[in-house]
Amino acid sequence: MKKIEYTKIKGHSVPYYGLLAGLGFMILLGLIATWYMEHNGHYVTGMTNQIVWGMPHVFAVFLIVAASGALNVASIASVFGKKIYDPLSRLSALLAIALLAGGLVVLLLDLGRPDRLIVAITTYNFKSIFAWNIILYTGFFGIVGAYIWMMMDHNMYKFKKKVGLAAFVWRLVLTTGTGSIFGFLVARSAYDAALMAPMFIIMSFSFGLAIFILVLMASYNWTGRELGDAVIARLRNLLGVFVAAVLYFAIVYHVTNLYITEHHGVEKFILRDGGIYTNLFWFGQILIGGLIPLALIYAPAVKTCRKTLGLVSTMIIFGGLCQMYVIIIGGQAYPMEMFPGYEVSSTFYDGVVGQYSPSLPEVILGLSGVAVSLLLVTFAIKVLGFLPTSLADSIADPHASK
């Protein structure tokens, strides 16, 4: 394998500035939406006392989970020594930081008291997994930042493996923490499962890689750099494995619940009676997010087609958002089982399915988080050498003849 050269992109063109402007505008809309929600109070959103976490959290958790997964490519190179992923490591680490930043922005701006951010990062209840997550997220920035430094600084290159290992372990703990936010809750039938943590880890692999592939293909396509088939083929196969793994975890989760009589109510709700949640589960998560991508990844006819890979990655991202929606909002919508065997009614909507319809400010806030992530990447690749000048097969493929 030849020595890889990394260069900044030129970033002079009108479309480039247009992209920056567009993303900046989206962020501005997000700030306006935040001001509107914070100034008036959350009654202007779709979130209520029954559904307390809504669209912003769907986007935020998706971005945070994907952030940890985006680091995968770098980890496979540094920790597991697969050389073909080595040139991709810098972009992988950059994307990880960018996605996490976007997710955190959404999460923090949705707080009831975002002005108390200082309190949140200085006052900790260490029994809370949320508190640990705050430490894990801020530490992630530090460790991955150091990782990028190791990758870019010629003198520090020898420490890359150790820092890469630390980053790998850190993000496993981080994603376990994110899954445990739900897994630790005894109150709701859809949560309260140790499986949530590893399930989130597997989801992170899948979503993170899908986003990475899209960003990689877009940045090479739009800057006219060469991206060889060897790299694409490896990424595609890896993506297929991860999608299959996510489906496996979904199967285990639901089959287990179907066995447990206590959980039949919530399973009937998600799988059959839940209206929007049932539709998003079967069509969004399973079909569009799982089965069709698997078919397209492995079908001989379209295996090598890059447009198909782009489509597949987009479908996986859509399926991932659907999965988050079903978990986060579906899990809250199903009424708490306080009085098993009784029909329950009250003025506080006990015993009934919680109603939720996402409001525009919430969706805009979520999308602006995506815009923050993309803006960070778009800007960073112009400022520093994150992208290899060429990933042609002759350069990138470790098995290519010299």
């Binding site: 002005d115 009614s345 009250s346 003025t347 009934v352």
Partner: protein, 153 residues
């Protein structure tokens, strides 16, 4: 980026930041209405209170909140009872009004406080309360009635 461009943008940003200084010339000095009554004194010295009132308030709030200690000396509501009084026209200022005892200084010093997002900003006797709480129950009952009718259908 050229040095010239950098210089110009720095000057531009600097001048924007200096704008508020112009405004300061026009900010009115806070007028604090002393509580009336003979022998009425604050719980601490004026100088001490000017510098450290926040410490007393913060300390008291933790004691009341976490330990249930409800002594009245440094109680926020007692401060309000004394310091927030009707003005010459008989109106009692709310925390949106810069005549309010706390707001007058805090706005001048540009130190934001959020006490009155939760705490009453004037003595209870000046707060008109209508029978809203009943309205809550009525609304909720209407919701229940609608649902019952829906079930019956």
């Amino acid at each position: 980026m050229s040095k010239r461009f950098l210089r110009i943008s720095l000057i531009f940003i600097g001048s924007i930041l200096l704008f508020p200084a112009q405004g300061m010339a026009g900010t009115p000095f806070p007028l604090i209405h002393e509580p009336e009554g003979e022998g009425v004194e604050c719980v601490e010295d004026e100088d001490e209170m000017r510098r450290n009132h926040m410490n007393y308030i913060l300390h008291q709030r933790d004691k009341t909140m976490h330990e249930g200690i409800r002594t009245e000396t440094y109680s926020l509501s007692k401060c309000i009872d004394c310091h927030v009084q009707p003005n010459d026209k008989g109106e009692v200022p709310t925390h949106e009004n810069k005549e309010h005892f706390c707001v007058a200084c805090h706005q001048y010093a540009s130190v934001q406080i959020d006490c009155f997002e939760c705490h009453a900003d004037r003595p209870q006797k000046f707060i008109k309360r209508d029978s809203k709480p009943q309205a809550l129950r009525q609304q909720l009952q209407e919701v229940l009635a609608e649902k019952d009718m829906g079930d019956a259908q």
